[in-house]
């Protein structure tokens, strides 16, 4: 098994799902209108990723290749639904802020991608760390995008006003087109840094 720290670092930096692999774009663009929304979506996804990875890994020798995708989807959808039930029942405050995104996680291709690319080929412990790394990478990316968008668009950071009222806000950034602009700008910066290193 590879070093857990390497696996986690791989998820956050080297193979960041959003900025490097560019997968899971739908939730990325949809929920990053504020940093808190982005981080909330990221953390819920992380929880599902870890559990889905562990179970796919445990079942990897039983699941025949021909039906692996439906099997993975069933495992993922089951976990998402269980998490949704538990949040609603026991953590209503968290559910109020995340409830909207939970069903979206089922259709997030990051989870299926990790099940297919990592968990179906590695042991449960390594798969759990892969889930944590990829999840945190996703959380970091969504939080960063949300922070930039709400700062430029609404003058706030983590829902607190930071820019003086008189400072003009570029509203476009909290609306849908702003998601594309911000993602493009951040990816351009990251790629230019990576190219310099290489």
């Amino acid at each position: 098994m590879a070093n857990p720290i390497t696996i986690i670092k791989n998820g956050i930096i080297d193979e960041n799902p959003t900025f490097i692999q560019v997968i899971g774009m739908c939730p990325t663009l949809a929920v990053t209108s504020s940093a808190i929304n982005g981080i909330g979506m990221g953390l819920s996804t992380t929880a599902v990723l870890v559990f889905a990875n562990i179970f796919v890994s445990l079942l990897r020798k039983i699941i025949p290749d021909t039906v692996r995708i439906p099997c993975f989807i069933v495992v993922i959808a089951t976990f998402v639904t269980i998490i949704e039930f538990l949040l609603k029942a026991y953590l209503p405050a968290l559910n109020a802020s995340l409830g909207l995104y939970i069903p979206l996680i089922v259709v997030n291709c990051i989870i299926l991608a990790r099940a297919e690319a990592f968990a179906s080929k590695n042991g449960p412990v390594a798969s759990a760390f892969d889930g944590i790394g990829m999840g945190l990478g996703f959380t970091f990316a969504l939080g960063l995008l949300g922070l930039i968008r709400e700062f430029i668009g609404a003058g706030t950071a983590f829902d607190m006003t930071v820019l003086p009222e008189a400072f003009p806000r570029t509203l476009l950034f909290v609306m849908a087109p702003g998601g594309f602009f911000t993602l493009a700008l951040v990816m351009a910066v990251i790629n230019s840094i990576r190219n310099k290193k290489a």
Partner: protein
Amino acid sequence: MNSKAVIRPAIVLLLISAVAAGLLGVVSEVTKAPIAAQAEKSLNEGMMAVMPEASTFEAVDAEFTGTITGIYKSDTNGFVLTTAPGGFGGAVNTMVGIDADGVITGLRVTGHSETPGLGAKSTEPAFYEQFTGQSGSVTVTKDGGQIVPITSSTITSRAVCAGAQEALDWVAANGGAY
């Protein structure tokens, strides 16, 4: 393709699905009561916020008109109505308390998908407290009314007014019958 190559994957998929379904059934059964309790608790807290003087509420068995989604009568003979008028990004869920004299005792936006930094400001006291004490008709200043709309979010502001208006109209028309 031999029959084994078809049957084994089918059985594995069937087993996994069956286990998943069983697990979901158990979790759903276990969480049913707590979820219902939470929903009732948050509804009650919301109603207490829009009608502080009341202490108990009872659902009214009436036909919902327009975007009304719920009608409750308080022990003080007032009504709390939930409405879902259309805003900029979808329905804007509002909860309006109206006392026995037809005066709004409070209003809250309980759920929305409006733009952050714009329409989302409808959940801030500076906006929703304007509704407290209003009666008869509520519209934004742009439409000749008394509610100062959220800057650049007239659509959201109008939606909240429309929700409050529906509640006021319902109470005016049907309040006496319940």
